[in-house]
């Protein structure tokens, strides 16, 4: 096999869209799905109706539920899982990784409660060192429809970025590059939290002025936290930061916005919302950011306020109030 295939771990919407994109560029893709029915459907019918309805997948995608086979046979591995699943899934195959494999994740979150970036989790679980992240405004549905998209491949290693460009680039898929792995990961991880907050504000009919202020404050706090993690300021002004916020913080942009909207409208944490928040990247990232901020001595009043709403310690209406009246937000300017 000589490790010629590309492995994609995770057959959700984004994992499936990326696998299809890579396969259409002529590569064989081994796509790992955690659910047997998803894997079987891809193998038998070439579709993934649960996560990517309507998309006919490229024939070069080989789905499997055997993660060891994927890790063992692929030279490049993309991890596209929810943040809370990464460590658990990797631990099943961690001893099959090799030092010359490129391991790139497209996870928009921080691990909670460890507050680790996903590249740190990969490093802790495997012997892989050639790590990277795909960040930026990556709306799976648009990719699947073949709409133009730009993404950011970030790695401390140029060879990782170059390989990402090789396997993903097409006339409709631009891959920008940066060596700022920490910045790209952090920006990508905190955008869903901002999307959640925007969903809440939208439901409260606060108008676009306040939403703009909220997004700007989120961006400032992302920068502030990033500066303590050796991230580059300019990463947050680019596609990974502002770009992702623009894409994530509007209706139809993803689960986090929708969860925020539902929470804001219901005014309380119902059982159903609690369940949805459990798998929400935005909620985990907001909590992780606040914890990380406290550890590093970085003031994050906006994310703190959001985390309090998500923990049920504050009503969504109180979130709005805290944004308008918080001295900490004003003084931290």
């Amino acid at each position: 096999m000589a490790l010629q295939s590309i492995g994609v771990i995770g057959a959700g919407a984004w994992g499936t869209a990326l696998a299809d994109r890579i396969a259409r560029n002529g590569r064989v893709v081994r796509l790992w799905a955690s659910e047997q029915d998803v894997s079987s459907e891809i193998v038998q019918r070439g579709t993934n109706s649960k996560y990517m309805p309507g998309l006919k997948l490229d024939k070069k995608i080989r789905a499997t539920t055997d993660i060891i086979q994927v890790v063992d046979s692929c030279r490049v591995i993309l991890i596209v899982l929810p943040s809370f699943m990464v460590r658990k899934v990797l631990s099943r195959a961690s001893s099959y990784f090799r030092g010359n494999q490129l391991v790139v994740h497209a996870v928009k979150g921080l691990e909670y409660p460890s507050c680790n970036r996903i590249s740190e989790v990969i490093k802790q679980e495997t012997c892989a060192r050639l790590l990277g992240v795909l960040s930026g405004p990556n709306l799976a549905a648009e990719v699947a429809r073949g709409m133009p998209i730009a993404t950011v491949a970030a790695s401390y290693f140029d060879l990782v970025v170059q390989e990402m460009k090789n396997i993903l680039s097409s006339k409709n898929f631009l891959v920008f590059s940066t060596r700022d792995l920490a910045g790209a990961e952090l920006a990508g991880a905190l955008s869903p939290a901002a999307a959640l907050g925007c969903g809440i504000l939208e439901s409260l009919k606060t108008g676009r002025n306040l939403k703009a202020m909220f997004i700007a404050e989120c961006l400032r706090e992302m920068r502030r936290l990033g500066s303590r993690l050796e991230a580059e300021n300019r990463t947050f002004s680019g596609l990974s930061g502002v770009g992702d916020l623009v894409a994530s913080c509007g209706p139809e942009s993803g689960d986090d916005y929708a969860i925020g909207f539902t929470l804001g409208r219901s005014g309380k944490l119902s059982k159903e919302i609690k369940l949805r928040l459990r798998s929400s990247e935005g909620a985990a990232s907001a909590r992780a950011a606040v914890k990380l901020g406290a550890k590093l001595g970085v003031e994050l009043p906006v994310f703190e306020s959001l985390a309090r709403v998500l923990a049920g310690k504050k009503k969504p209406g109180g979130f709005l109030k805290s944004l308008m009246e918080s001295d900490r937000i004003r003084s931290s300017r």
Binding site: L3, S94, S95, N100, K123, L130, Y156
Partner: protein, 531 residues
């Protein structure tokens, strides 16, 4: 380097450096041409010689570079290459030549006696006091940590010892420590300024040093030096680098490390893998050196404060160059039974993975890792990739920095200075550091009870950190109370330095030399200790 290796080392270093420059020049882009490389070397060498150069080699250097100057303008491309070959060969011979194999051989037998004599000769008072027997300063050197692992790695492969750097005495202390650990001298590059004191210079050579001329600023010299280091590791010579580059000016534990020489270990390992010798392993052994008092503390902190961020790389007029100061320091060490802590940390591979007793690299889960794969391309062939390797070395640097913090042995002087300087800073909130150091603000003295309370808290926290492996502490800090810590620190401060950092009068402590206090305080930074 053994005589049989010297000539082939010169030839190999020259061939590698010339071939690399030639290849890069052929690629074009923004790479300098051979002529530009030679012009740069010539420019810097002429400037160096105009300023005097090194007395021992001045005449020879002048003749050589005058010849280069004459030939270069009219040289064809082929002649430029020949000239490049000559220049690299000239540097390589100088680097190799400064290491005398006869002295190296002698060193293995004279090190213990030599060091003892050296240290004792610097301390005539102690010598007289102990007469007719020899006072033994070496008993003040405490070896700690992974000494067995160090020995084992020496047997299994090539060791690169990477210590923290506080004093010019470090090399001598390390030389003795290696001997005491049952190891031969390690080879290391020592700045030419260290050879000013003739007695010490002799012993530097004996302890395995080769001379590095830091006044040679051009890339060609640095490349040749780096290649020589790489080759010596490939040949199996254990090396010693100070990754901090120079002595810590601030007194703090080095956290910004110079990666240039550190990368030689990885490069040597890559060359071994390419030559189908992946079992020729390279091990990095971090090491910390801690003194109750540092010989050159006054000069170092002055330099740090004068030029923060751009401190002089080479200081030639410090305490180390003054035999009386060295003697006074040694006398202090003996009379106080002061300890010098040399702590070896767990060995690493060139990628920063811990290695087990059999020299096998382990990942963070303790599983064996085939590290040769890190150097292979996607087809499984070992390849050179400078950007990749630079990044691996950067990661190694981060791991080293954290190993230094965990293996830093704090002493009573550090803790008293931390508490006292911390009190000063707290009592003068917002005061700029330089003003605080110059004036002391409103803090003329601090009550003993206040300092004791603070130190009790600090040693409580340090004992907790020591127990979880985040720092190491001296015996007094581990078992004594604050009164014992203060008494020991004041005894040390009261000796050697021109002006004590702090003294006690009645029930109050008075900071006398605030710069020194700041210097020793810095050693305890980074542990979130509260004052």
């Amino acid at each position: 380097m053994r005589p049989e290796d010297q000539e082939r080392a010169v030839v190999e270093v020259t061939a590698r450096v010339v071939s690399r420059i030639e290849k890069q020049a052929d690629k074009g882009n923004n790479n300098p041409t051979v002529e530009e490389i030679l012009q740069e070397a010539l420019y810097y060498e002429r400037r160096r010689l105009e300023q005097g150069g090194h007395p021992k080699t001045f005449k020879q250097d002048k003749v050589f570079w005058k010849n280069v100057q004459k030939l270069l303008p009219k040289a064809s491309k082929q002649e430029q290459l020949q000239l490049l070959n000559k220049v690299v060969d000239f540097h390589a011979r100088e680097i190799v030549g400064h290491f005398d194999p006869r002295v190296y051989a002698l060193a293995t037998s004279v090190v213990p006696v030599g060091l003892s004599l050296l240290l004792n000769a610097m301390s005539p008072k102690a010598f007289l006091r102990a007469f007719p027997s020899f006072p033994d300063v070496t008993r003040n050197v405490v070896l700690q940590g992974e000494v067995d692992a160090l020995r084992r790695m020496h047997e299994l492969g090539t060791v690169i010892l990477v210590p923290t750097h506080s004093s010019n005495l470090d090399s001598i202390v390390l030389g003795w420590s290696l001997y005491a650990a049952g190891l031969p001298p390690f080879t290391y590059g020592a700045g030419i300024n260290l050879f000013i004191n003739p007695v010490l210079s002799f012993f530097m050579h004996n302890l395995g040093a080769y001379t590095v001329d830091r006044l040679k600023k051009h890339k060609l010299y640095k490349d040749t030096l780096k290649e020589y280091c790489t080759l010596s590791i490939e040949y199996g010579y254990d090396n010693l680098f100070f990754p901090g580059g120079t002595r810590s000016r601030s007194g703090g534990v080095e956290q910004k490390l110079k990666l240039g020489l550190l990368g030689s270990g990885l490069k040597a390992y890559l060359n071994n893998v390419k030559a189908n010798r992946p079992d020729h392993k390279v091990f990095i052994v971090p090491c910390t050196l801690n003194y109750h008092l540092v010989l050159e503390a006054e000069t170092l902190i002055d330099d740090h404060l004068k030029e923060v961020g751009k401190s002089r790389y080479i200081i030639i007029d410090d305490e180390f160059s003054k035999p009386r100061r060295v003697a006074s320091f040694m006398s202090g060490v003996l009379s106080l039974d002061s300890k010098i802590f040399v702590r070896f940390a767990r060995p690493l591979d060139p990628f920063g993975n811990l290695v087990d007793d059999d020299g096998v690299s382990m990942d963070s889960k303790g599983r064996a890792v085939d590290i040769s794969r890190y150097l292979m391309d996607l087809k499984g062939e070992p390849v050179e990739d400078p950007q990749r390797d630079e990044e691996y070395t950067r990661e190694l640097g981060r791991i080293l920095a954290s190993s230094y913090m965990e293996n830093n042995v704090l002493c009573s002087t550090h803790v008293l200075a931390f508490a006292l300087f911390g009190k000063m800073a707290k009592e003068n909130p917002g005061m700029e550091l330089y003003r605080l150091l110059r004036t002391g603000g409103r803090t003329e003295s601090v009550t003993l009870s206040e300092v004791r309370e603070t130190i009790d808290n600090i040693i409580g926290e340090l004992r907790r950190l020591d127990a979880i492996g985040k720092v190491k502490i001296s015996e007094t800090l581990a078992t004594g109370d604050s009164a014992a810590v203060i008494a020991e620190a004041l005894r040390h401060f009261g000796t050697y330095h021109t002006k004590p950092a702090a003294i006690r009068r009645g029930d109050r402590l008075f900071p006398l030399d605030r710069n020194l206090l700041y210097y020793y305080h810095n050693r305890a930074l980074g542990y979130d200790l509260e004052v």
